[in-house]
């Protein structure tokens, strides 16, 4: 298992639960997740937490099928079937990796509009690890403006 200890997981809860990006105070680049050195300017700077808008497009993806899932996801694969893992390019720029949910693997395509949702990622020793997954953008009849 790709073991992440509870304190390590906990430290990154704002990123894992709410998709809080880190804006470089030097060049303005949004980093996600946190990095020692900014991806934009390559400098060791300070960051300002910035909530991201939770929308993006699929940049690339792969499918995890029978036998391919890491141990913490093997029961998920057995009970809920194959699932997609996508690299999502967020509106603000960062590309992040996340599981696809609420869609069948054959519904996933590059360029597809997705939104971040809060889901159970896995659980370890009875402790639920919640986090962000992506699903196809929900269509609404309300104009929402």
């Amino acid at each position: 298992m790709a073991y992440i200890s509870i304190p390590t997981y906990w430290k990154a809860l704002p990123q894992r639960y709410c998709l809080i990006g880190l804006k470089c105070k030097n060049c303005g680049t949004i980093n996600f997740p946190a990095r020692d050195v900014c991806l934009g300017c390559g400098k060791k700077t300070e960051y300002e937490p910035t909530p991201l808008r939770r929308h993006g497009k699929i940049y690339s993806y792969t499918i995890i099928s029978a036998g391919g899932a890491p141990p913490e996801f093997s029961e998920q694969e057995r009970l809920a079937g194959s699932f997609g893992i996508a690299v999502v390019e967020l509106e603000e720029g960062p590309r992040i990796i996340g599981q696809m949910t609420d869609c069948k693997p054959n519904e996933i395509s590059i360029g597809m509009e997705v939104e971040a949702v809060f889901r159970r990622i896995y659980e370890d020793d009875g402790v639920i690890r919640y986090g962000i997954k992506f699903r196809p953008q929900l269509k609404s009849k309300a104009n929402q403006r």
Binding site: A80, V117, R120, I128, Y130
Partner: protein, 345 residues
């Protein structure tokens, strides 16, 4: 100024199972008046559902989560027996730490109990903005008739004093001790009921009659004064049965009857019913909401819809958006997604 609903939002999971699947598997479908019901995906629970309905309520009211002073979470099946779920919802909404949180459970009346506490919280000026979110996914063993109707869903109601879309006119609650009607002992995963329909109906009717008739008396109102009546939805028939006895007509009840499409969403059902009606209501409409709680009582609340409803409604996803976005599954897939097969979690 009085506290009222200033935002509302729902969430219904994507998966559905139709009653025919039960007929194929068991030779019968024991839940009356339910065509299909919603079930959670493998990665969902009552907390994840609550996060989405809450976000929809905040979005509809154009309120930032860090303005919330209180969060009242209700569920009969919260993921932890000790450890608050409201804190997870608050963290996922990014409310910040300056917030009062509380969990409600133990009964299908928990949603309205949380709402009444939230209304008190705001009315008494302990906080300016409170969020009530009820989220439920009741579980029973597959060979129990009560399991057939059990569905899932979540509704969130934002409570404040400004830009109220539904004002609270009055409330009335009742308590009744009804043993063995709908219950789950400590440490048990699965719900049980008496299995005696007449007993359940009697309890349901008695508890609702006390809360509703007393509320109407206090208001000096009659059943026909209400545009909509929303009752606890264990199945697709009992709300009509109790409604008729209380003087309501079927067209006042049917718009809230989401149970026919999502099943019994436990403590969330009366609030999802209220949201269904808010998606349709006009200014000046009066809405009666009455819950019933697992052999123990009922809360009745009377709402008056304000002029703000029209501009407000289309600022967030509607119930219909979730009802139309669905994927129907067969019975074996249903059992897998419910984690009835394989290791229990």
């Amino acid at each position: 100024m009085e506290a009222g609903i200033i935002g509302y939002g729902v969430y219904i999971p994507r998966f559905r199972i139709k009653s025919e699947e039960y007929l194929k598997a068991w030779g019968l479908f024991a839940a009356r008046g339910i065509e299909e019901k919603a079930l959670q995906g493998y990665d969902e629970d009552t907390v994840t559902m609550a996060v989405e309905s809450s976000a929809n309520a905040l979005k509809r009211a154009r309120i930032d989560s860090d303005q919330l002073d209180g969060l009242f979470f209700a569920s009969t099946v919260a993921p932890y027996m000790e450890k608050l779920s409201s804190s997870t919802v608050a963290a996922a909404l990014n409310t910040g730490s300056e917030i009062f949180i509380a969990d409600f459970g133990y009964s299908t009346k928990a949603g309205t109990s949380a709402l009444l506490s939230c209304l008190d919280f705001v009315s008494s000026n302990r906080g300016k903005l409170g969020l009530t979110v009820a989220s439920d996914n009741p579980e029973a063993l597959p060979d129990e008739p009560i399991e057939h109707g059990l569905g899932a869903g979540s509704a969130a109601l934002l409570v404040g004093k400004n830009n109220v879309v539904a004002r609270v006119e009055d409330t009335h609650s009742s308590s009744l001790e009804i043993i063995g009607e709908r219950y789950r002992r400590h440490g048990k995963q699965f719900l049980k009921d008496s299995g005696i329909r007449a007993y359940t109906e009697q309890a349901f009717n008695q508890a609702l009659t006390i809360s509703v008739t007393n509320l109407l008396k206090r208001l000096g109102a009659k059943a026909e004064d209400f545009a909509y009546a929303v009752f606890q939805q264990y199945d697709g028939r009992s709300p009509y049965d109790v409604g008729r006895k209380l003087g309501f007509k079927d067209p006042q009840i049917s718009p809230s009857m989401v149970v026919t499409k999502i099943g019994d969403a436990g403590c969330a059902s009366p609030l999802i019913g209220l949201c269904a009606v808010l998606d349709l209501a006009k200014p000046g409409d009066r809405i009666l909401v009455a819950s019933y709680g697992s052999g123990a009582g009922s809360d009745a609340v009377s709402f008056l819809v304000t002029d703000h409803i029209e501009e407000h409604r289309n600022k967030g996803p509607l119930l219909e958006d979730y009802l139309t976005k669905k994927e129907c599954v067969d019975y074996v897939t249903y059992l897998k997604l419910r984690r009835m097969l394989g290791e229990k979690q």
